[in-house]
Symmetry: C2
């Protein structure tokens, strides 16, 4: 029973382990990693430099090492593998399931990729990995593993169990046995549970379940995730255009897909270049954040330039400048609310697809209600400030218009982005927000010009 890691990731342990590496205390290293989970060792090695990590890995079994490497995040894995030659990497890939092996090879330069493949000892696995590398990383073909157990329609349960015994060492988790015809076309599955409770001489063809879900090699990863989530699947078979069984995708890969998509969305919303983490270098973190800040700066400068046109009016009625933050903030809030409702609805994909017109119409109604409430509130707030009914009217009308406009932009932008296969969450990010800010100012000063008759 191991519900806590074999070691705790504390500063003290880090210190001790570091010392052990420096003094080449093989015994301490082996003892502390004995029985630890691959993922925990991987987190630990993440804190050391590539040479140190290699020293530790060389002390462990190749199969253990392979699983530690696969748990590393892609970034550190790349730097880490630079320490190894092709034959060493091939030794690790030989130990992994095909999808994990392909993940490692994806990260290597093409030339080294070929060297590793030709250095692999398990030729069938090498062939399978080469096949997987043909697919994009973000479609079902790029996620699937070739390891699975399949049975011919005409086999008996006994034959089936013999096949499982034969193949079991290659397949980590079995879940189900897939049933195919003589052309390898996927017909259905038999669950392990059913295999265990059926008698030996039963034909596979008599007990298999033909009512199963599958995806095609080119199905995008987010769609695969949505299907597996909707139907609560642990594993889904992948077929080609002819319906032939090509591989299978398991739930743990899908959890990674969902988590990565959520991270990507968060980064888009926050305006950070993707793939930075808190423990990256200061320079990398700065670079990831500067582009969006510069866009904001340019937006702010345009705003300043624009307000500059109203310099003489502001000297006359300085109160006009007081409400710039209010107008901008409300526009920003409404825009982000509208866009994220749409993003959520696009992500969940389990309702009737609404037409764009229906969505815009509904969003218009919501924003009329909200705009009216806010405008009435702001009218009284401004009027109570300095009992100037004109400025109160300007702010109220401008606010109403900004709410409508921001809501329209927030609704239509993610829909348009989605049509062009761009992540709609970008619409909640700072680029669009900056554009909305400028629109808001335009409306505000436009309304002011009309009411004050500059």
């Amino acid at each position: 029973m191991n519900d806590t890691p074999a070691f705790e990731l504390t500063k003290e342990f880090h210190e001790l382990f570091n010392q052990a590496i420096e003094t080449k205390d093989v015994e301490f290293i082996r003892d502390s990693l004995e029985g630890a989970d691959h993922a925990d060792i991987s987190s630990l090695l993440n804190e050391f430099n590539p040479e140190q990590s290699k020293y530790v890995l060389d002390l462990l079994d190749t199969s253990v090492g392979a699983n530690i490497i696969i748990e590393m995040d892609e970034d550190s894995r790349g730097k880490f593998l630079d320490e190894f030659d092709s034959a060493e990497i091939a030794g690790y890939v030989d130990q992994l399931e095909t999808d994990d092996g392909a993940d490692i090879l994806y990260g290597l330069p093409v030339k080294e990729r070929e060297q590793v493949i030709s250095a692999m000892l398990n030729e069938e696995k090498a062939r399978n990995i080469v096949e997987l590398l043909h697919y994009d990383e973000d479609v079902a073909g790029g996620l699937m593993a070739k390891e699975l157990i399949k049975a011919n329609l005409n086999w008996t349960i006994k034959q089936c169990i013999e096949e499982i015994r034969k193949q079991a060492e290659h397949v980590e988790n079995i879940y189900s046995v897939y049933v195919v015809n003589n052309n390898d076309k996927l017909l259905g599955k038999v669950s392990l549970k059913k295999l265990i409770i059926s008698s030996d001489l039963t034909k596979v063809g008599d007990i298999y379940d033909s009512d199963i879900h599958s995806v095609e090699t080119f199905t995008p990863e987010d769609e695969v995730a949505a299907i597996m989530r909707k139907y609560d699947l642990d594993v889904i078979p992948v077929v080609n255009l002819k319906g032939q069984l090509m591989g299978r995708i398991t739930n743990d890969d899908i959890i990674d897909v969902i988590t990565e998509l959520a991270e990507e969305e968060r980064q888009l919303m926050a305006g950070i270049a993707t793939d930075v983490e808190e423990d990256d270098s200061i320079w990398k973190l700065s670079r990831a954040r500067l582009p969006w800040l510069m866009i904001g700066l340019v937006g702010g400068s345009i705003a300043a330039y624009f307000i500059g046109f109203f310099e003489s009016e502001i000297i006359l009625i300085p109160a006009m400048s007081f409400f710039i933050p209010l107008i901008m903030a409300t526009g920003g809030n409404v825009g982000i609310q509208s866009s994220s409702i749409i993003v959520q609805s696009l992500a969940s994909r389990n309702a009737f697809e609404e037409s764009m017109w229906n969505r815009l119409f509904k969003s218009l109604l919501v924003s009329i209600v909200n705009g009216a409430v806010l405008s009435i509130a702001v009218y009284f707030i401004v009027f109570s400030f300095d009992s100037d009914s004109t400025i109160a009217m300007v702010v109220a009308i401008a606010l109403f218009s900004v709410v409508l406009l921001a809501s329209f932009m927030g609704t239509i932008t993610p829909l348009i982005l989605n049509k062009f296969d761009i992540n709609p969450a970008l619409a909640s990010g700072p680029f669009i927000t900056t554009a909305n800010d400028l629109l808001g100012l335009l409306v505000y000063f436009g309304v002011a010009s009309a009411l004050y008759q500059f």
Copy 2:
């Protein structure tokens, strides 16, 4: 083979199905739902009112109906179940696994809950569900199902398989057999694969794998999700404080948890009350969005009041008002970037826990770099506007200070929220953004006062 739903969720089908319900065309309804997946039928019924849905459900088997009900979102399920009496609901709950049964009961008023439980025919299941209802919905105990296969240490494989045959009809997916001692303490597991490939007389005690992960009944759901994700688990056993096996949590529940947490985070970042969806009523959508907009409005009003103090200065130097949007937008962008890096890092939980001081120090260094770059850029932009070096200096210094301040707030707020067990994503939401806006203005006018010596 069923890789597409039995029916497509189109407007045309909706029309036809609606007509069939009105004309009580039982044959059409049964035919179109024949072989369809529960989740698809559930999406379809979502588009009809509760009475219509009940009419359809009454035509189907109770076990099919039970699985359709469990797929509904909690909102519609509540309204839908109002149409049923306790005995009918009990009939459905009798057909479900305990965790799904408990989910349905969670949504009912306490009185009806008791009525349903006492109307259940399967007494063991009723007892198990009552046990599950004692746990909060968001801890391991509230997620787990009681259905699992356990074997005593001293059994043989043959006894184990007999037990599986006996219990198999109650357990949908088996994954592994859990091994316990005479006190029901969890010792380890035997995978189905190992069961199949071992000989009948082997003792369970000789082949079980003691190196397994487990969680405790009170472990929070996000921690369960992180553990299952980190170690790529399909299922995790849940134990009580004495280490006794209480239930198990499967991967599909965890996918729901992860998706819900991502949705919650998106809604917090966007300032929408949780649990609204695009297809909710206009009134519900408005109400979900108004509170945050009102907070923004109050913030904007405070900003206006504050700027009002500088009325005479603005008349003197109107250019000061031009850069309000720039200062505010940059502060907002920096704040959201900093907070979401922290939120991400808190969510991933697979690194050494950094101390708060290290985090603040690193974030300070990043913001000094970014602040310097932005300030230098803005100095030249402003100076090129009207070659007034004082206003250029005011904006540059204020911008630098705002970047540092917003970065500090963005880093510390999610850490503090997290300490108090509040979702740290709230820090990226409009409440904190509003506070940051006000701070930014304070700094801007503060710097202006100092440099212009008002």
